[in-house]
């Protein structure tokens, strides 16, 4: 498998094998467009399943009890807080989680004691969280605020780094794409959104950009001397860069996803709901979408934007005219595809690049 991936990488790098992702960008735009539309529909019709941290409420968690019967908790809640509807979940092997609406602090304390008694554990094994509705709203507001500030800052940083606003725009489009689809998945499946999930969402932003920066760096390198050559168009060179970084994108994504999957596995199967599961679930979904978008969304969008630039339009026209006249020296396959190779001229690598003579020839 290793050898195959390496060989595949070699072919992608040399341009022997190319996936026409940029050329087929309309197809990917449609795929992404449909996914985004579905996500938005899910978001606005089903909405997010906000956790008690955002809407306010009370959660109790009995740890290490031998009695894992929801009925016990139901009885306690019915007695002490008759107005509240309790959602009781059994987590892992021996934890019980009870969620009810907002109750006052004194009632909360009574329930804690009653639960400890009902589940036959000492009172200090009952954890509880009480969130006032205003606090929840402020947590949500803070999350949205940091999202906006981050997006603005990233836009500035990316523009400065690439010195090209189109790349910044494309990166932000990819970012929005990832965020919307991830949130859409949450809405569609109905995963609970907690502050920990929000942490996950926000981290996705950083990660998605990380991937995109790697790809854009290569594209920029390939197109540095674009106008000094007339063999390849901008589209073709961008596509080459994309293909050349494909192996890298896959490797970085797999490596980033491995620890996240580990947390997700442990968090879901051993711990049940909680911070670990919430963070890793959001990250898992987001990173998967992020890898997709850095390949199929970011670069195609960037190329689409670039194609409106007069300089690029003119250059593309010249390249195609040259090809039509048959005077170009690019390799064109039987099927009519242009074989795109490295565009940077070779240079003398210095004495260091020369092979060393170790022994005298026998």
């Amino acid at each position: 498998m290793k050898l195959n991936l390496a060989e595949w990488g070699n072919k992608l790098h040399s341009g022997e094998k190319t996936y026409p992702i940029v050329a087929q960008r309309k197809r990917w735009f449609i795929v992404s467009g449909v996914l985004v539309a579905l996500s938005l529909v899910a978001l606005f019709t089903k909405g997010l399943n906000a956790g008690i941290d955002f809407v306010g409420g009370t959660e109790f968690r009995v740890t290490e009890t031998s009695i894992t019967e929801p009925a016990e908790a139901q009885a306690v809640i019915e007695e002490l807080a008759p107005d509240a509807t309790a959602r009781v979940t059994i987590l892992g092997d021996n934890d019980v989680r009870i969620q009810i609406g907002v109750v006052d602090i004194e009632t909360g304390r009574e329930i804690t004691s009653a639960l400890a008694e009902a589940y036959d554990v000492p009172e200090d094994q009952v954890s509880f969280t009480q969130i006032g509705p205003t606090w929840g709203a402020s947590v949500g507001k803070a999350a949205v605020q940091s999202l906006i500030v981050f997006l603005v800052l990233v836009g500035i940083v990316m523009s400065l780094y690439f010195r090209a606003w189109r790349m910044a725009v494309a990166a932000l489009v990819a970012l929005a794409h990832d965020l919307i689809i991830t949130v859409g998945v949450y809405a569609l499946i109905g995963f609970e959104v907690t502050p920990a999930s929000v942490i996950g969402f926000l981290t996705i932003l950083g990660y998605s950009l990380y991937d995109t920066v790697v790809v854009f760096d290569k594209i920029r390198e390939n197109t540095q001397h674009l106008t000094s050559q007339h063999r390849y168009t901008y589209d073709e060179l961008a596509n080459l860069g994309l293909n050349q970084t494909l192996v890298r994108s896959i490797n970085t994504s797999v490596v980033a996803l491995l620890p996240v999957s580990a947390i997700l596995f442990i968090g879901s199967f051993l711990l049940g709901a909680g911070t670990l599961k919430d963070i890793s679930l959001a990250l898992f979904v987001g990173m998967a979408v992020g890898t997709y978008s850095s390949i199929f969304v970011a670069t195609p969008v960037e190329v689409a934007l670039r194609d409106y630039e007069p300089k690029i339009v003119e250059h593309t026209r010249q390249v195609l005219a040259l090809r039509a006249s048959g005077e170009t020296d690019v390799a064109i396959s039987d099927t009519g595809d242009v074989r795109v190779g490295a565009v940077n001229r070779g240079s003398h690598q210095g004495a260091a690049a020369q092979p060393k003579r170790k022994k005298r020839k026998a």
Partner: protein, 591 residues
């Protein structure tokens, strides 16, 4: 090539120095300070209670809550918690909120202490004395305290600025205090109960220096000085926080308008307050010490007890004494805080049992170990011997991160939360990513036909940019998250930002130097097939040769010569291959 070795060695020396300094500082902290080898754990891992309080102003209040008021509230809560004997409580502000973290399973009384609001009261001083409890209770003697024991009259209150003292209706004082028709300064307030309480009061004990529930406002009360230097018996409350408009502090001017070099606290009262204050000061100004003092009591502790020599009208008073700039500011802040009609409202309350915390920490660590193992296995499969560089870099990064977190939990009181642990685990992937970006870059350069040395050199220069850019974005994300978000998000942002910085450090000072050194080893330089840098696997036999031509598996001139020689003398060629290093890739023109 000595340059490469020197450069690499210098970088590795720096790295070694950083690690030694890091752990050295930590060791010093452990031996001489109160640092520990393990990081402090936040409540969700250690168990405990977290209460988030928001200050809420009463309806119609004109004041606003500023940072000084919040700090004052935090200070008061801290004093109360300390006094209740709960160790290692953590009280901090986050935006407009106050977050109180109490370890273990605190009693309900302790929790109530946090929520109770602080009151500011003005009471006339009846008796003051030494802070220690009096063993022999002598009712008659206590009415006339020895002057020597009175530490009081070092602060005086006088009309501020232009407010001219006019001898106003001080006679009305009696009428204005209807409480049982008795003058608040009357020694009749000292009942036996009050006297007993006063005698027993020990102001050197911490619990009496804060969070004391104030007594009945209509009766006399006893209280300690906030520094535990004196104790007082005071008459009924004559004014409270609502009578204070604001308080400020600044350098003191004398009547000629020149600086005296000392500091003063200026108290501004409301119209109602001004009237009450005029009455009080008019009444007590002629009493002998200490009955010419009025005590300002905040949260059950006397924060100041200046003596009065004139009637103060106009609602502007200036408190002078041995203030430093800081102590004047502190008193002004305390008074201003006392004037705020503010209550603390519980926004969220969370109790994590110690067993749940320990369980989560354990499972989190298991998840981290599994994640690390998976990354190690994957990079060994993908990069073979080069994978060990990844593993080594991750180990170094882990060691530095652990040391930093342990050090930070000592120096700035950082506490590792579950979200922080998640950040660390996620960082494994992000850190390994930067190695992959680098390795793939080197491989790209090899594919383009460079020798390993040149490929490392060239690949590094290009990968460096990419790594720095992506790390910069990660740090940016972490900083934004840390500054804007609340609660658990901060713990995550902190570790994510920290590990990203460590990542940069490790890539520059470990991964790259090690690769430079390894590039000199024959195992890698000749591209052994297990080295992960085998040019043959990287397709150097299918190379782009320029001008649109691709050379696929076409033997080089040297190979053709060798092949020709092989036909002539196959035996000789065989011996040559045998004596050769195994690492020599076939088809490479190494000789």
């Amino acid at each position: 090539m000595a340059r490469v070795k020197n450069e690499a060695r210098r970088a590795l020396t720096w790295l070694g120095a950083i690690i030694v300094v890091l752990y050295g500082t930590l060791a010093l902290g452990v031996v001489f300070g109160n640092a520990s080898w393990t990081p402090n754990l936040a409540l969700d891992l250690a168990g405990g209670r977290e209460i988030v309080l928001a200050p809420v102003l009463a309806d119609g209040a004109e004041q606003t809550i500023d940072q000084a008021d919040l700090d004052q509230a935090v200070d008061i809560i801290r004093r109360r918690i300390d006094a209740s004997g709960v160790a290692e409580a953590e009280i901090s502000t986050q935006g407009q909120n106050i977050v109180v973290a109490l370890p273990g399973n605190p009693s309900e009384e302790t929790v109530d202490l946090v929520r109770q609001s602080a009151q500011l009261q003005f009471r006339p001083v009846l008796v003051s004395g030494s802070p220690l409890p009096t063993t022999t209770s002598d009712a008659s003697a206590s009415a006339t305290p020895e002057p020597s024991a009175s530490p009081s009259a070092d602060e005086t209150a006088e009309p501020a600025g232009s407010a001219t003292p006019e001898p106003s209706a001080s006679a009305s004082a009696d009428a204005a205090t209807p409480a049982e028709g008795t003058d608040p300064s009357s020694l009749e307030w000292i009942t036996e109960d009050v006297q007993a309480k006063y005698d027993a009061l020990d102001c050197t004990a911490a619990e009496n220096l804060s969070g004391v529930t104030p007594g009945d406002p209509a009766l006399a009360d006893v209280a300690c000085d906030q520094d535990g230097l004196a104790k007082y018996i005071m008459g009924p409350v004559e004014m409270d926080g609502t009578d204070v408009a604001t308080a400020t502090s600044g350098p003191e001017y004398n009547s000629a308008g020149t600086l005296t070099g000392r500091y003063e606290v200026r108290l501004e009262l409301t119209n109602d307050g001004a009237k009450k204050f005029a009455d009080t000061t008019g009444r007590i100004k002629d009493f002998e010490s200490p009955r010419d003092q009025f005590a300002m009591v905040l949260d059950g502790v006397v924060i100041s007890a200046p003596a009065v020599s004139t009637t103060i009208t106009g609602g502007q008073a200036s408190i002078t004494g041995n203030f430093t700039q800081e102590s004047a500011e502190q008193l002004a802040n305390q008074l201003k805080f006392g004037a705020l009609p503010m209550t603390l409202e519980v926004q969220s309350e969370q109790q994590i049992s110690a067993t749940l915390g320990a369980d989560q920490l354990q499972k989190g660590l298991i998840a981290g170990a599994i994640g690390l193992l998976l990354v190690v296995i994957y990079s060994l499969i993908q990069y073979r011997a080069l994978g060990f560089v990844t593993v080594g870099s991750l180990v170094i990064a882990g060691a530095i991160t652990y040391g930093l977190i342990a050090l930070l939990s000592w120096v700035i009181g950082y506490r590792l939360s579950l979200a922080g642990v998640a950040g660390l685990i996620v960082a494994i992937g992000v850190t390994a990513d930067s190695f992959i970006v680098y390795f793939e870059r080197v491989r790209d350069e090899l594919r383009e036909g460079r020798s390993l040395q040149a490929a490392i050199d060239h690949g590094w220069r290009r990968a460096r940019r990419t790594i720095l850019a992506s790390d910069a974005i990660n740090v940016l994300a972490a900083v934004v998250l840390y500054l804007l978000a609340v609660g658990g998000v901060r713990g995550f942002a902190f570790t994510l930002g920290l590990t990203t910085l460590v990542d940069v450090l490790v890539v520059f000072l470990f991964t790259h130097p090690i690769l430079m050194l390894m590039g000199k080893r024959p195992f890698f330089a000749r591209g052994h097939k297990w080295s992960g840098l085998d040019p043959r696997q990287l397709g150097r036999d299918t190379m782009y040769k320029g001008r649109g031509r691709i050379v696929t598996g076409q033997p080089t001139l040297a190979e053709r010569k060798a092949a020709a020689a092989g036909i002539v003398a196959p035996a000789a060629a065989a011996t040559a291959t045998d004596t050769d290093d195994d690492a020599r890739p076939e088809g490479e023109e190494t000789r």
